[in-house]
C-alpha cells in the first residue's frame, strides 16, 4: 500500500482535478506500491515522490495522463517504457533513463547515466545536465534534448527520432546510424562508422527550434551542426568490409 501524506484519498483512486498532489514517500512505501498505484485504471492527476534515494525502476510502465515529480536521485530505468504522462526528476538519473519511452515526457534536472532514452519509440526526454555513454542508443523515434554533453557511442544504430546536444559529443557519435537526426552545438570527438555531417536546411532549423523550445532551452538553432547517416552501410557490399 502506498502511504499517503497530504491527501485523504487513497493513491490509486483518481484524484479530482484541482486536488492536491498525491504524495508517495519511498521511505514509507515500496517502489512496487508506487508502480502498482500508477498502473491502476483511470489513474490521473499530480503525484510527488520523495526519498527516491537512487532506487531502481521508479515510475516505470506509466500509461496514463499523470504528472509525476520525483524529488531526488533515481537509479536504473526510471520512467522505463513510459507512455502518455509527464515525469520530472529533480536530481540525477541512473542507467537507462526512460528506456523504450513511447510517448509523453521525461525531464531530468541533473545528469543522466548511460543509455538514456535507449530504444525510445516516441515522446520527449529532456536532460538539463550531461548524459553518459550510449545516449539514444538504438533510438526508434524518441526526441532527446541534452543541455550538457553526451558520452561515447551515443546514437549507436539510431533508427529514428532526433537527438539534440547543447554541449559536446563523445567518440563514435552515431555509429551505424540509420534515419535518426543528430544536432550538436559543441564539438564532436569523433563520428562513428557511416555518420557524417549534413547541411542544415530550413526544415532542420525549424524542427530544431521546436525541440529547443519544447525543452525550455535558449540556444539558437543556427549555432548547431547536423549529423546523420551517409547510408553507405545499408547494403552488404564487398567494399564496406572494413566497416563490418
Amino acid at each position: 500500500m502506498v502511504t499517503l501524506i497530504g491527501t485523504e484519498t487513497p493513491a490509486y483512486v483518481p484524484a479530482a482535478s484541482g486536488a492536491t498532489a498525491t504524495l508517495v514517500d519511498l521511505a514509507e512505501s515500496t517502489v512496487r506500491d508506487l508502480n502498482q498505484a500508477l498502473h491502476e485504471p483511470h489513474v490521473q492527476g499530480e503525484w510527488t515522490v520523495t526519498n527516491s534515494d537512487g532506487k531502481h525502476s521508479i515510475a516505470v510502465g506509466i500509461d496514463a495522463p499523470v504528472s509525476v515529480t520525483i524529488e531526488g536521485h533515481v537509479g536504473y530505468y526510471a520512467a522505463g517504457m513510459h507512455q502518455k504522462g509527464d515525469v520530472i526528476i529533480r536530481g540525477n538519473a541512473g542507467v537507462g533513463l526512460a528506456e523504450n519511452i513511447m510517448s509523453g515526457t521525461v525531464h531530468v534536472t541533473g545528469d543522466a547515466s548511460q543509455s538514456a532514452a535507449a530504444t525510445g519509440h516516441g515522446g520527449l526526454v529532456v536532460i538539463d545536465g550531461n548524459a553518459g555513454a550510449r545516449c539514444g542508443i538504438s533510438m526508434k523515434g524518441v526526441d532527446i534534448v541534452v543541455g550538457g554533453s553526451i558520452g561515447h557511442m551515443s546514437a549507436f544504430m539510431a533508427q529514428a527520432g532526433r537527438l539534440v546536444v547543447c554541449g559536446d559529443a563523445g567518440d563514435a557519435l552515431g555509429d551505424s546510424i540509420y534515419e535518426a537526426r543528430i544536432y550538436v552545438k559543441g564539438t564532436v570527438a569523433s563520428l562513428g562508422a557511416d555518420c557524417v555531417e549534413k547541411p542544415m536546411g530550413g526544415e532542420h532549423l525549424e524542427e530544431l527550434g521546436q525541440l529547443l523550445a519544447a525543452a525550455g532551452r535558449t540556444e539558437q538553432p543556427s549555432e548547431f551542426k547536423r549529423y546523420g547517416s551517409a547510408r553507405n552501410l545499408y547494403h552488404f557490399h564487398v567494399d564496406n568490409s572494413t566497416a563490418y
Binding site: H56, G61, G75, G96, N100, T119, Y234, V238, S241
Partner: protein, 452 residues
C-alpha cells in the same frame, strides 16, 4: 548456400568419380571447395539459415534402457503418463500451464511469413502449448492465434512496446541463440518489406544488422535490475525467461537464476537461425547434449532444479529427443527447424524450384534469401500465399501430438507416469564422447568419462 561455380561438362560427370578411382579430400571436400569458390567470387562471407550441419554428438548417441526385472513398465493407453508442465511459478503470479512440454521456439515475423507465424500459433494452441515471437515484434495475427504467447526481449528491441508486453503470457529475455552465441540479428533487404520495415522502424529494403548486446544492461548484476524493471512494468504477473546460446551453460544458468529468472532457455549449437554467417553457425557454441547436464548441475547446486524450469532447444526432431532431453533434466523443449519442416520446409514436392535456386530438397538453407518455395521464410505475397495457415496449423498440431506420444511411449516403457519423471538413470550412451557430455554411462559399462 548457393553454388556459384560454373556448370560442368555433362559427359564427364556421367560416371561417378568414385568409379574412376578418384579420391575426394576429407579436408577439402566438395562443400569446402564450393565455399572457397563462393568467397572468391563475391568477397562477402556466406550468410544462411538453418543450424550447424556438421556432425556433433547428439541425442542419437543415447539409448533408453527401458523396463526390466527391477523396473515395471506402464501399460500403454491404460495407465496414465502425464505430459503437462508449469513454467514460471517461481516469481510470476500467472505462470504458464502447458499440456505438452514441446513448445515452439522464437522465430520472428520478418524471418517467417505472417502465414507461417499464424500456422505456428494455431498448431501450438490446438495442443495447448506456447509459441514465441522473435526479433521483430508481435503481430496481431500471432497474438490472436496463440493461446500462450511468449514475447521476446532482444538486443534490437524492434517493435518492443509496453502494450504488447502486457498482452504477452511470458517474457523471454534473449541473450543469445545456439546458432550464434554472441551474434546479433540479420535480415537481408529482400525480406524488409514495408510491413516488416514499419514494425522495426527501418528503411524498406536495407540489409539489417542488429546489435548483439543489449543497449541498456551488461552482465548479471544489471540483468537482475532489468528483470526487476520488467516485473514492475507488468506488475509481477508474467513469467520471465532468460534464453542463452549454449557456450558456458553452467555459469550462465547460475547467473540467470541469481538474476531472478523464472525459466532458463538453453539453445545448443545445432539450433536453427534465419540468417547468420556460416562460419558462426558451424564454429561457435557447444552441442545441445553437452549443455544440458551443465545447466541441470547449476540448477541442482542452487537447489532450484524444477523450481526454475529449464527449456532446451537445438536439434529436437523426435519424441525420443524430447524424452532424452527431459531425462537429462530439462522441464521442456523448444523446436524451430523441425516445426518449419512440419510446415513444408524442404519438401521434395518443391524439388524443381529448389533446383532453380541452386539448392535441393533436404539441403535448402537460404532462409535469408526470401525466395522460399514453401512460403515459410519469405515475405513475398505470392510465395507466402502457398502456405495455408489453417492447414499448416493442423500439420503443426499433428506433429506436436506425435512428438508427445512418442515421448510418452518411451516414458511408459521406463515405468514413468509423467514425462518429467524420466531420469539420467534411464539412459546409456553409445559413444565415449556422448557418455562424457551427457554424463551417463557408456552402454554395457558403468563408465562415465570425466566423472569423479
Amino acid at each position: 548456400m548457393t553454388v556459384t561455380s560454373l556448370p560442368h561438362d555433362a559427359a564427364l560427370s556421367a560416371r561417378h568419380p568414385g568409379e574412376l578411382g578418384l579420391r575426394e579430400s576429407a579436408t577439402f571436400d566438395r562443400a569446402t571447395i564450393a565455399d572457397i569458390q563462393r568467397a572468391a567470387a563475391t568477397g562477402v562471407y556466406d550468410i544462411r539459415g538453418w543450424g550447424a550441419k556438421r556432425s556433433v554428438p547428439h541425442f542419437d548417441d543415447l539409448l533408453f534402457l527401458g523396463a526390466s526385472m527391477s523396473r515395471y513398465p506402464l501399460e500403454g493407453y491404460r495407465e496414465r503418463c502425464d505430459t503437462d508442465i508449469v513454467l514460471g511459478d517461481r516469481h510470476a503470479s500467472k505462470p504458464l500451464h502447458l499440456q505438452t512440454p514441446v513448445t515452439i521456439a522464437g522465430m520472428s515475423f520478418g524471418a517467417l511469413s505472417a502465414n507461417a507465424k499464424e500456422a505456428l500459433g494455431r498448431g501450438a494452441s490446438e495442443v495447448g502449448t506456447s509459441t514465441t515471437t522473435g526479433d521483430g515484434g508481435m503481430t496481431p495475427e500471432e497474438r490472436g492465434q496463440s493461446k500462450h504467447l511468449v514475447y521476446q526481449y532482444l538486443p534490437s528491441r524492434y517493435g518492443m512496446n509496453p502494450d504488447d508486453l502486457r498482452k504477452a503470457d511470458a517474457i523471454e529475455i534473449v541473450l543469445g541463440q545456439g546458432a550464434k552465441p554472441g551474434g546479433g540479428g540479420m535480415l537481408l533487404g529482400q525480406k524488409i518489406t514495408e510491413r516488416v520495415a514499419g514494425m522495426r522502424t527501418l528503411p524498406v529494403g536495407i540489409d539489417q544488422r542488429s546489435a548483439s548486446r543489449h543497449p541498456d544492461w551488461t552482465g548479471p548484476d544489471d540483468l537482475e535490475i532489468k528483470i526487476g524493471e520488467l516485473r514492475e512494468i507488468t506488475d509481477w504477473k508474467k513469467p520471465i525467461y532468460v534464453k542463452v546460446g549454449a557456450s558456458r551453460p553452467y555459469y550462465d544458468t547460475a547467473l540467470a537464476v541469481k538474476s531472478g529468472a523464472d525459466v532458463i532457455v538453453v539453445d545448443g549449437m545445432q539450433g536453427g537461425t534465419a540468417a547468420t554467417q556460416q562460419v558462426f553457425i558451424e564454429n561457435v557454441g557447444i552441442p545441445t547434449l553437452a549443455a544440458i547436464p551443465q545447466a541441470v548441475q547449476a540448477l541442482q547446486e542452487l537447489g532450484v532444479h524444477r523450481k526454475v524450469q529449464l527449456i532446451v532447444s537445438g536439434g529436437i526432431r523426435t519424441g525420443a529427443d524430447v524424452a532424452k532431453a527431459m531425462a537429462l533434466g530439462a522441464d521442456a523443449v523448444a523446436i524451430g527447424t523441425a516445426a518449419l519442416i512440419a510446415l513444408g520446409d524442404n519438401d521434395p514436392r518443391y524439388a524443381a524450384e529448389y533446383a532453380a535456386l541452386g539448392s535441393a530438397a533436404g539441403y535448402y538453407d537460404d532462409f535469408q534469401d526470401g525466395r522460399d518455395p514453401a512460403g515459410i521464410s519469405t515475405q513475398d505475397p505470392e510465395l507466402s500465399s502457398r502456405l495455408d495457415p489453417v492447414a499448416g496449423g493442423r500439420r503443426i498440431a499433428n506433429y506436436l501430438r506425435v512428438l508427445t506420444m512418442e515421448a510418452q511411449t518411451i516414458a511408459r516403457a521406463c515405468g514413468k507416469s509423467h514425462l518429467r519423471n524420466l531420469e539420467p538413470e534411464d539412459l546409456v550412451a553409445l559413444t565415449i564422447e556422448a557418455a562424457a557430455m551427457a554424463r551417463v554411462p557408456l552402454a554395457g559399462t558403468s563408465w562415465i568419462p570425466g566423472a569423479r
